[in-house]
């Protein structure tokens, strides 16, 4: 039969079953207000509207109401808010509590996966269901107070009075208990979920210094800072961002150092953000920064807890967002983007040496390709004769003008860099081989580019790796292309014009009221010792003048007590 059927398929045409294709329909506009009150209204399509009520979101106004003592109403509101039991990870559990011969209905709601089930069972459910059956000797005046004081042996429990707070706590790993006859609920902080531990920083590595980076948990991050600073005046103010997500966000500062108006401005900006959801501090950075179109960043994003702690101690303000391993620090001036935390930890001669190297690297990353184009096109006399012959010989067979050549190379390099980040780890090494072979060997052999150009691009790439800040590195990469074009159109005059225009652009921008080029333009007074170079640690007596801190002195003039001759010592002499 099987054989016959198979042969039959080739002889007899059989129409295929039509595959049902999905059409994404437009949402029907439901007037939720009418739908919610449809039973008491005389409207068309009453039956249809009654069914559609379930699709309506719970109005914020309802959540703003105070909790009712009617447990059935509370139950209805919680069920509707979370669309239970359709919503599978929401746990709803009813139980009874007995208080002095009186049995009260109760229920709890929490989200599975975000809470600690053992804690809920042992420290909330068990006491409420079992302890309440024990003989009560004292007179019970207020049932709610009795439950709070005697029946809930849990360390983080609080009373909440409106549904909005209930919902935001449940969403963030809380467990809520409603009890019949009580017009408030008990909220236990039972949050517990799987998360990444504290690892070493990935994008800001140092040799000398702590190896702790932030993770995605806001509390772990704030705890890291508390642990480093150990300062009672460290303030961590909670703000939630996101109309729907209510993502926790912490604004951190040291209250007797940070400028009040700066703190107010940061809080104002953070609180004023109106978005539905926010996922990362990168988004927050873009919502907080002063100038969107400026190439240079204006807020420092770092994953290093010691860097944030250091900047807080100088008078900056930091903002941490739950779910992001990068903390934002503001205001940020050019110096912050050029320094690393290692700079404070290594000795004075080393840090200045490394900073000079870094500055040269940054200058190379920004200007070298542009200068190369300017020199080879307009100022050939600068090149020593022997080198000029070598360059000329290497370019002899290259069909493109040098500007096209360098643009091709720079574009290829940027492509490799981008691909290197996106490519899965397992095949990451291939990028190096492909990039190295194609750009290095094959392009030269094919006379597409000259070997000297490879050297220029390679040195430029090395220079750009010396930029400590990821965002600043982007800015330099973009500006490099502008300098190439300016070098091509007017030689050194073009580069000079670019430098002046770029300087003006940066000098006109501000980060939270502080000019971006501070302390170089404007030059600030005061003896802040960590500008382009760094003074010895014992000479860093003042905090940055431009932050207008409440306490400008960070250490006394003589911070090394042992250098001053002790009076007892004198006596001994």
């Amino acid at each position: 039969m099987g054989l016959l059927n198979s042969i039959g398929k080739y002889i007899i045409y059989k129409e295929k079953n039509e595959k049902k294709s999905f059409v994404l329909k437009e949402n029907t506009d439901i007037n939720c207000e009418i739908a919610q009150n449809v039973s008491s209204l005389d409207v068309f399509d009453k039956e249809k509207l009654e069914g559609s009520f379930i699709g309506c979101p719970v109005n914020d106004d309802i959540l703003k109401n105070n909790i009712s003592s009617d447990i059935e109403l509370n139950k209805k509101i919680m069920m509707t808010t979370y669309d239970m039991p359709k919503n599978s990870d929401l746990v709803y559990r009813e139980f009874n509590i007995t208080v002095k011969d009186k049995t009260l209905k109760a229920f709890m709601v929490f989200i599975d996966g975000m809470t600690d089930r053992t804690v809920i069972s042992n420290n909330i459910l068990q006491p409420l269901m079992l302890l309440s059956n024990l003989e009560i000797k004292e007179e019970v005046k207020d049932i709610g107070e009795f439950i709070f004081n005697r029946l809930l042996p849990f360390n983080q429990i609080k009373v909440v009075k409106d549904y909005k707070e209930v919902v935001s706590n449940i969403n963030f790993g809380g467990c809520v208990v409603f009890v019949e006859g009580i017009d408030y609920a008990f909220m236990a902080d039972t949050k517990s979920w799987d998360h990444r531990g504290i690892n070493a920083p990935k994008s800001e590595t140092v040799i000398r210094g702590p190896q702790e980076a932030f993770n995605e948990q806001i509390r772990a991050n704030t705890a890291l800072l508390r642990k480093i600073l150990k300062d009672k005046d460290l303030m961590i103010q909670n703000v939630s961002i996101g109309k729907r997500s209510n993502t926790p966000c912490a604004v951190m500062y040291i209250k007797d150092i940070a400028n009040d108006s700066l703190v107010r401005e940061v809080l104002k900006r953070v609180k004023s953000i109106k978005v539905d959801y926010i996922f990362d501090s990168g988004e927050l950075e873009q919502l907080l920064e002063d100038n969107t179109f400026l190439a240079a960043p204006q807020i420092l994003a770092t994953e290093r807890s010691d860097k944030v702690a250091l900047m807080l101690s100088q008078g900056n303000v930091a903002v941490a967002l739950d779910g992001s391993p990068f903390v934002l620090v503001m205001p940020a001036t050019i110096t912050e983007f050029l320094h690393t935390t290692e700079d404070t930890n290594i000795r004075y001669p080393y840090v200045n040496f490394i900073r000079i190297i870094r500055m040269v690297g940054i200058a190379i990353a920004l200007l070298l390709p542009g200068l190369y184009i300017a020199i080879t096109n307009y100022h050939q006399e600068m090149i020593p004769t022997n080198l000029l012959f070598a360059i000329e010989a290497s370019r002899e067979n290259v069909p493109f003008p040098s500007v096209i050549e360098i643009l091709i190379m720079e574009f290829s390099f940027e492509l490799i860099r981008e691909a290197g980040i996106r490519v899965p780890g397992a095949i990451g090494a291939t990028i190096g081989i492909v990039g190295g072979l194609i750009l290095g060997q094959a392009a030269v052999t094919a006379n597409l580019v000259s070997p000297i150009m490879i050297i220029v691009v390679a040195i430029t790439a090395l220079g750009s790796f010396a930029v400590p800040s990821f965002s600043m590195s982007f800015s330099i990469r973009i500006m490099r292309f502008v300098y190439i074009l300016l070098g091509a159109v007017a030689g050194f005059l073009g580069i000079a014009l670019g430098l002046v225009l770029n300087s003006m652009l940066l000098a006109s921008s501000k980060s939270f009221g502080v000019p971006f080029l501070t302390p170089f333009g404007p030059v600030t007074n005061g003896k802040y010792a960590d500008k382009l170079t760094r003074k010895p640690t014992w000479k860093q007596e003042k905090r940055p003048d431009y932050l207008n801190t409440k306490d400008i002195k960070s250490q006394p003039k003589v911070s090394r007590g042992w250098t001053v001759k002790d009076s007892n010592e004198e006596d001994e002499d």
Partner: protein, 370 residues
């Protein structure tokens, strides 16, 4: 007009020094040699001393003026009419300065670097810088001067250090060059290098008045030292007879740098530092053109003025393109530059006599108490 622009004494000093230093980048050392011959290095010393005396006098008079600038002083002296007259005079003076220097600088760069490009193209590049500067305003221009001017000066000093092996002490003899009369004539004529005083007295409200003394003296001393060093190194490298024919002195000096096989002919470094210096000069003067005009007519917005003014400057620069470099060393025109010193002096003398800065009775009482 409420003034919100503010910057410190460092920015103001750097800005002022560059206004003088730009002369060095063009033909100042050659003009010195023209007047003084082998004694040309004495002229910058004399003009610096004159400038110091001038500023000390003005500073004393400024006690009765407070933190007013030249426009405010003229308004207090002669009301709106005098304010408009003085404002227009300053605007014209600054437009003349910026257009002649724009032409001169463009021609210089065309000669030494962009020889295949039309002069309009070179001018257009400066034009872009000037427009951007006026758009961002005086505060930003002052800020960038604070860190770019030191770079320019260091570059210049390196060039002059590079030519030390070519110094010939015999070039300084005879000590008095062409004689007292020639040195004296040159000193008066070349005082035009300090024509930028007019801008100092327009800037007073931007920095605190207590810094006027610091800014003024440090500007004169630093500029004087640069003028002396530029002239001295120029005359030490080139004998008098050769020096008078050198059109762009510092560039010609830079051509003499030679350290082994690999450090030679680095005159292009001059192009780089000269371009930055010139751009800063033009940016500052043009920004002040817009500022003075806006303030004179109490205009609420200055940005609509930028493009028309820039076109006027550009056209004037093109008009005089054949004579630009020579215009800068024209003796009769040099005297016009002295307007930059004479006009402020006259206004400040009258203002001080009328005590325009102490208009409020309270202020006068306070001063009497002290």
């Amino acid at each position: 007009m409420k003034n919100r622009i503010q910057f410190g004494s460092w920015e103001a000093t750097a800005l002022m020094v560059n206004l003088v230093f730009a002369h060095v980048m063009l033909i100042f050392p050659r003009d010195m040699v023209k007047f003084g011959g082998s004694a040309s290095w004495m002229i910058p010393i004399i003009i610096t001393l004159i400038a110091l005396g001038y500023f000390a006098t003005v500073l004393k008079l400024y006690k009765n003026i407070g933190s007013l600038d030249l426009i405010d002083i003229s308004a207090r002296i002669g009301g709106r009419t005098l304010k408009v007259i003085v404002g227009l005079m300053i605007t014209v003076f600054l437009i003349l300065t910026v257009s002649i220097f724009l032409g001169g600088f463009s021609q210089t760069l065309k000669i030494i670097s962009l020889d295949k490009s039309p002069i309009e193209y070179v001018e257009a590049l400066f034009f872009i810088g000037m427009i951007a500067a006026a758009y961002y305003g005086i505060e930003v221009v002052a800020r960038i001067n604070s860190f770019l001017v030191p770079v320019v000066i260091i570059g210049f000093i390196l060039i002059t250090i590079g030519v030390i092996p070519a110094f010939n002490i015999n070039n300084l003899f005879p000590i008095l060059g062409e004689g007292y009369a020639s040195i004296a004539k040159g000193s008066i004529s070349m005082l035009s290098a300090f024509a930028s005083f007019i801008i100092l007295f327009l800037m007073v409200p931007f920095f605190k008045k207590k810094y006027l003394k610091r800014v003024g003296f440090s500007y004169i001393i630093v500029s004087g030292l640069l003028l002396v060093w530029a002239t001295l190194s120029f005359i030490l490298v080139f004998p008098y007879e050769v020096a008078v024919d050198k059109k762009i002195p510092i560039y010609q000096m830079a051509r003499h740098i030679e350290f082994g096989n690999y450090v030679q002919r680095i005159e292009s470094i001059f192009v780089f530092i000269c371009s930055i210096c010139v751009l800063l000069f033009l940016c500052v003067v043009f920004t002040f053109v817009i500022y003075v005009f806006t303030k004179t007519f109490d205009l609420k917005k200055s940005r609509p003025l930028i493009l028309p003014m820039a076109i006027i400057v550009f056209s004037l620069a093109l008009l005089s393109k054949r004579t630009n470099i020579e215009l800068l060393s024209n003796n009769s025109l040099t005297l016009i530059w002295l307007t930059g010193m004479i006009l402020p002096l006259l206004l400040i003398i009258i203002g001080a006599a009328k005590k325009v800065g102490l208009k409020d009775k309270g202020d006068i009482k306070n001063r009497q108490k002290h």
